[in-house]
Symmetry: C2
Subunit: 440 residues, 2 copies
């Protein structure tokens, strides 16, 4: 046995035994190998004293844009068009590989620090992003986001789709499946049916997942209806976009029919409440989606719109917003929100047989939280404390496949000082010149 | 000079100079005595290296019930009446002085850890609460919450009002005003006009502030209209409740006329978004309140309904909810939210000439945050990072009147281990018998 968590409160996410008090959880060769209230006979190489601690499955962030860490807070509090056109887009034009890598490593460090063990990322420079995921030890479903306006688009000849092919060939299945490459259509309004057909066909033929922004704003929903007489969910369905495992980010303005369609097609809605509120998109009706049988997972969205990647925030907001807008204080339970952040996220990533619960044979993607701090005492119910009182800051240890990646302020696979130096010396001068950054 | 923060980013909350980079902020005899970008000539007893740190005014939590820390998460995810009648009220019946003191000290420790330097508390056993505020060094506006249903109520003879008198005589102005005793009417629906007149008269005659729950739920608003033909804000106005400095907690269902009344009367709305959402009360329209000229401050509400006292959460939610419900991404700015948590809170407490900004002569109620962590890098704008990306967990040091009360995990005035032992040995057995608590 490599690692033994001893005498710990284990939140398993298994419905029939959600919490095991005084648990012993053993890890061998990257997998969970032992769970009991009795200590194992076998010796462990490392024993972690779990008294006062809570162990839970690592969290799955199903929608983000990691390199946007470099744009965190930049141009905040400006109207959307002004923000995008005068702040975000001009800076994004300046990216190069080297800057992307530093920004991605910073983003991954933040994820690990806050207890995320697997991340779904949609951006460009995806080869560099995969390289960072590979180095850092986190799990990643990585897509090259496709935006194409030209009418003469042809899958075989267009840069974004060719990048997807290269990415697929180089990275898909890397390290025994730790990296999964996925296809991505940025959104209905940033491309057209030739693109949708081409990308969908490639994803289906190659068993790749799919990532799309769907019905984020009212304007997106209405202008799509005007163009096609169909909603984004419906028009993309015509092009078979949902014929593969897919995540639809945001889903703020889905109609009832859209929800039924997504439930039938097994499309996961990725609820990103922080981003949807901050950018004034609205509040996604997740209670209704759940009632209609949809899988709902959670995302932080990129650090320029949310503005951190602490998945505990959207997890708490998922319950709070649902209660507050349905006027039902039990519209969604803490247990359901915790599932969105773990089990449902793993399912969205196609990793449901691999992680998302604490059970023998699953990958040891685990996080340990310190429950000895004033705001987590008393602990009448660990699940309630996790969802309503805790934060990613309470994470003390983050482990992926049995390997500790973060512990007590230290990153074991990322040289954070080097990344910060790189930000100071290269990323910020490249992207912002002399201005925009005060205190890197 | 007692303390010097050197080379720090100071977020002053002064409109004309909101951020001073590379600042030197000196503290002498509990007051801010020096602010400059040049180091002072004078030596300081302690120099705190502020590189990578942000200094801001301590936060003011304008509505909580500190001892309810003992009930954190207890009975969560039950419908409101079930939760109150079968979980909260039966446990509250068991309180005694000793238990209240331990629970209050735990609550104060949590506040200090998250950067709150002044707290407005409404509960009973208020003498014990004042004792804890006195010991801990935090500032407090403390009220004995009055609930009276009997028709023969007379101010001079009734226990709650006599407790207010005793509290006033014993604690009001303690330690040069660190404790302010305030009057409190629990709510319109838990008393009647004899009570309101009596309490209001006492508050006005003695220059005490007032704390009331107002228009928290739709049902409260509607049943009051049915009873009196007036809203809670209006009917309490008839009894002169707003003729003294007052805070109205929640204000979810205020009408436009209520807002205009409160603006005229100088009543502060205390926005408690976490609690209002979780308990399904709704979303307070704070943008409208601000536009109508009201003072809006922030509260966490008690730890049994929110479920922690990290004021960074409602500060962020204030902006997010306002944007998301008005569909305007600049409905409220980060700077305005930060003001709610500091300047506006100080005003609500009658402490606007004492704290809430970093300026010479003000009390040194200061908090220092560590901005070297991944989620706060880069820092294009410290105010944006404070509101959208930071958390109370980033607070490294909390100082009230120049005295450090919390630093790097250590509480200087509260023996946390002793408090936790007391919880284990006394509070939890008293209140919950053998059950309800798993991991204290």
């Amino acid at each position: 046995m490599d690692t033994l968590f001893s005498n710990i409160t284990a939140v398993t996410m298994i419905d029939k035994l959600p919490v095991i008090y005084g648990a012993y959880v053993g890890v061998t060769d990257g997998k969970i190998s032992y769970i009991s209230q009795q200590p194992p006979q076998e010796q462990a190489e490392r024993v972690i004293d779990g008294r006062g601690m809570v162990l839970m499955p690592g969290m799955v962030n199903c929608h983000t844009h990691l390199p946007m860490s470099a744009l965190r807070g930049y141009g905040d509090d400006h109207a959307l068009a002004d923000w995008l056109n005068n702040y975000i887009f001009p800076r994004e034009d300046k990216w190069d590989s080297r800057a992307i890598r530093a920004a991605t490593l910073l983003g991954i460090a933040e994820c690990l620090r806050f207890g995320t063990t697997s991340v779904t990322d949609m951006y460009y420079f995806s080869d560099d992003i995969c390289q960072c995921v590979a180095e850092s030890g986190i799990k990643g479903n990585i897509s090259r986001c496709v935006t194409v306006f030209e009418e003469d688009y042809c899958f075989d000849k267009h840069v974004p789709s060719q990048e997807l092919v290269a990415l697929h060939e180089k990275w898909h299945g890397y390290d025994n499946g730790r990296i999964q490459v996925e296809a991505s259509i940025h959104a209905e309004y940033t491309s057209h049916d030739k693109v949708w057909h081409g990308i969908a066909e490639y994803a289906i033929n190659n068993g790749l997942g799919m990532q799309v922004h769907v019905s984020e704003t009212k304007d997106e929903q209405e202008s799509c209806l005007e163009r096609y007489g169909l909603t984004p969910a419906q028009i993309l369905d015509v092009s078979h976009v949902w014929d593969t495992r897919a995540v639809a980010a945001h889903c703020v303005w889905l109609t009832d029919e859209d929800m039924e369609l997504f439930a039938r097609r097994g499309v996961t809605a990725v609820h990103c409440p922080n981003s949807n509120l901050k950018l004034a998109s609205g509040i996604a009706p997740i209670k209704k989606m759940i009632d209609k049988g949809m899988n709902v997972a959670l995302g932080t969205d990129g650090p320029s719109s949310s503005n951190n990647t602490d998945l505990f925030e959207p997890m708490k907001l998922a319950v709070l917003l649902s209660n507050g807008t349905t006027y039902d204080p039990v519209s969604i339970t803490a247990q359901e929100a915790l599932k969105m952040a773990t089990v449902n996220g793993a399912k969205a990533q196609g990793r449901e047989n691999e992680c998302g619960v604490i059970a023998p044979g699953m990958d040891a993607d685990l996080i340990m939280l310190d429950f000895t701090q004033p705001h987590l005492i008393p602990c009448h119910n660990p699940i309630s404390n996790l969802v309503y009182a805790a934060s990613g800051h309470d994470v003390k240890l983050t482990m992926v496949r049995g390997k500790v990646l973060y512990e007590d302020g230290n990153f074991l696979t990322i040289d954070l000082q080097k990344v910060l130096q790189e930000f100071h010396d290269y990323v910020l001068p490249l992207m912002f010149g002399g201005e925009g950054e005060a205190n890197a």
